[in-house]
């Protein structure tokens, strides 16, 4: 069963496409990073998964069933932390928990209280007076309190300072490690995801550019550096994802189609997740067009 599965999913706002022809499968039981530049359609995709938005065309299935938008019964299986961590600012923390308890039949009050006390968030404090990091933690505690099977986080650390960012990701990793929970989180910064995600989906311009297990992706890609005039040769046997040139020197991000070639004049090194994502986001090399990486062609069978 996939946590999220889409088939030619599309969403349009008026005449503007936010997402088009997107087919992908997010595996269950993993921590999946959804990466892409701002405006790539990440929020649109996640909002459709948690039931805030309806697709314009195509279909989306969540935890093997219809999305919560069409079947409200699915709402209790999906926890969501929205990008701006909306909270009722006038509510005390205890009121926010009571809000969660009243609206979620599966609510786990003891765990929610423990979680917040471990984080040092006082129950009597008003939500609006908490620091940004604490608000994010409270929002996460609310989403976890309903004991979801799928936890979706939209840019959870985007507006947090580095310390709060680390604390939040630690909290999230601790929860994800307990197992049974599928996590999907989006970010426009790969660095945030590198430590926590084991599966990666790269979304750009409303389409999936790259998808797969993080380790597999790293194993499939190499960074080549060598003479510029031999760059075309490499492109014949492998897929050049991205190329950059300085003088006579070429640096190529390559997806291997066969075992790594042993070229005397080239240096080969593994890539980082960040280089990988940046390479795919900047697109094919200018001289020689790589095969188009549409959403459909990149989905593993």
């Amino acid at each position: 069963m996939s946590a999220i599965e889409t088939d030619r999913l599309e969403r349009r706002y008026g005449r503007r496409w936010a997402l088009r022809d997107c087919s992908l499968a997010v595996p269950a039981g993993r921590v999946v990073g959804l990466v892409g530049p701002n405006g790539a359609g990440k929020t649109t995709l996640l909002h459709m998964a948690v039931g805030l938005l309806a697709p314009t065309a195509g279909s989306i299935r969540v935890l093997g069933g219809l999305p919560p938008r069409e079947r409200p019964g699915q709402l209790r299986r999906v926890g969501f932390v929205a990008q701006d961590k909306p909270l009722y600012r006038g509510f005390r923390v205890a009121d926010m928990l009571r809000f969660g308890a009243k609206l979620n039949p599966g609510w786990d009050q003891d765990q929610a209280v423990q979680r917040l006390s471990r984080l040092g968030i006082p129950l009597s404090q008003r939500a609006g007076q908490l620091s940004g990091g604490q608000q994010a933690q409270l929002a996460l505690a609310l989403a976890l309190g309903k004991r979801p099977e799928l936890l979706v986080l939209d840019e959870p650390v985007a507006n947090l300072d580095p310390l709060a960012r680390r604390e939040f990701l630690q909290l999230l990793m601790g929860e994800a490690a307990q197992g049974g929970l599928s996590v999907v989180l989006s970010s426009h910064l790969v660095a945030d995801l590198e430590r926590i995600c084991d599966y990666l989906i790269l979304l750009a311009a409303g389409q999936v550019q790259l998808v797969g297990d993080a380790d597999d992706l790293l194993a499939e890609h190499r960074m080549f550096a060598g003479p510029r005039d031999q760059a075309g040769l490499l492109g014949r046997t492998h897929t050049v994802v991205h190329a950059s040139y300085t003088g006579r020197q070429a640096t190529l991000l390559v997806r291997l189609r066969s075992p790594a070639p042993d070229l005397a004049s080239w240096t080969v090194r593994p890539v980082s997740l960040e280089e990988l994502v940046l390479g795919y986001m900047s697109g094919p090399p200018p001289a020689q067009a790589a095969p188009s990486l549409s959403c459909v062609s990149e989905v593993p069978a």
Binding site: H47, L52, L75, D84, F99, L103
Partner: protein, 321 residues
């Protein structure tokens, strides 16, 4: 569930109730003052005896006319339910983004909307009913006193603030505010729209009211006193006609019969009957009060239902986050 709505909107609800409570105390106090004045001045006794009580009426008007005429401002009360309760109800959550939190809990949007609409709608209806009863009592002593605009139950001033119509008005205002908020997703525009929609709707239905049932007519001597005076009719239209039933202006009558400061009353009346001038009033009798209240309330409840239907549809089917 109700706790969620209460916790979220308790300041709005309780401040609204507090303002209305103060107003209710003012009404109760002035109502008491006026009633006791009617007794001590002897007007009550005069009216009970069905005597001509014009001089008493003038006394009452001098003392309390301004207060009675201000009743017209109470027509704005139901609108407040729309502006301060309806408009922010959903719009505020959309404005602050908390709808993304609320709509991803384990309850459907329909349910979520119901637990917001229920308590506020009930509060608006109960308070409208309370004020209606209070104002019915407040105005009751003046139903038979006529000065300028009447205050009988069928008269525009009094009809609109008592009976069941105020319940219809406030639920309509509440629904208009809520729906405007759902559609605009912003509190202030929703408030402005509620304000802009409520009054025209009220005035429009008010202009239709005289057609709810065919008016009755009564005919009597021109410039005379209607045989139905003091019965609490709502006189919709009044005109002088000649022998052939053609409408004539007051000015024509005055010049034809030479009515002026020096003219003799007897001569004038002889002239009037010689020309066949008589007054024709079209009126809605007081006995139609309940039927008219029912129709008026029905119209506004119907409008409220349509508006709430739009709000529910929009929130559950159309609204994006």
């Amino acid at each position: 569930m109700i706790w969620v709505a209460w916790r979220q909107h308790r300041i709005q609800l309780s401040s609204g109730i507090a303002v209305l409570a103060v107003l209710a105390i003012v009404l109760a106090w002035t109502g008491h003052q006026m009633t006791s004045y009617l007794h001590t001045s002897g007007l009550s006794a005069c009216l009970a005896a069905h005597a001509g009580c014009d001089s008493f009426s003038h006394l009452v008007e001098n003392r309390y006319g301004w207060l009675l005429r201000n009743v017209v401002y109470l027509n704005f009360l139901p609108m407040l339910a729309g502006v301060f309760w309806g408009a922010p109800l959903v719009a505020r959550e959309m404005e602050t983004g908390t709808c993304r939190l609320a709509w991803t809990q384990s309850i459907s949007r329909r349910r979520w909307l119901a637990i917001k609409l229920g308590p506020f709608g009930a509060a608006a209806a109960v308070m409208a009913a309370g004020f209606s009863v209070l104002l019915g009592w407040w105005l009751h002593p003046f139903a038979q006193v006529s000065f300028g605009n009447g205050f009988a139950r069928m008269d525009l001033n009094a009809f609109d603030v008592q009976g069941i119509a105020p319940i219809g008005y406030s639920l309509f205002a509440f629904a208009a505010g809520t729906t405007a908020g759902v559609l605009t997703r912003r509190v202030l525009p929703a408030m402005a729209i509620t304000f802009a929609v409520f009054l025209p709707a009220r005035l429009w239905v008010q202009s239709l009211r005289s057609h709810f049932a065919t008016p009755l007519t009564v005919s009597y001597r021109a410039f005379g006193t209607s045989p139905r005076a003091g019965l609490g009719d709502w006189v919709v239209h009044s005109q002088i006609v000649d022998r052939l039933g053609r409408s004539v202006s007051d000015l024509t009558v005055i010049t034809t019969c030479g009515i002026g400061p020096g003219s003799q009353k007897a001569n004038v009346f002889t002239c009037l009957s010689a020309h066949g001038f008589h007054q024709i009033d079209r009126y809605q009798p007081a006995s139609r009060f309940l039927a008219f209240q029912g129709i008026e309330t029905g119209i506004f409840l119907g409008l409220a239902a349509v508006l709430l239907g739009i709000a529910v549809y929009w929130v559950t089917r159309r609204s994006a986050s």
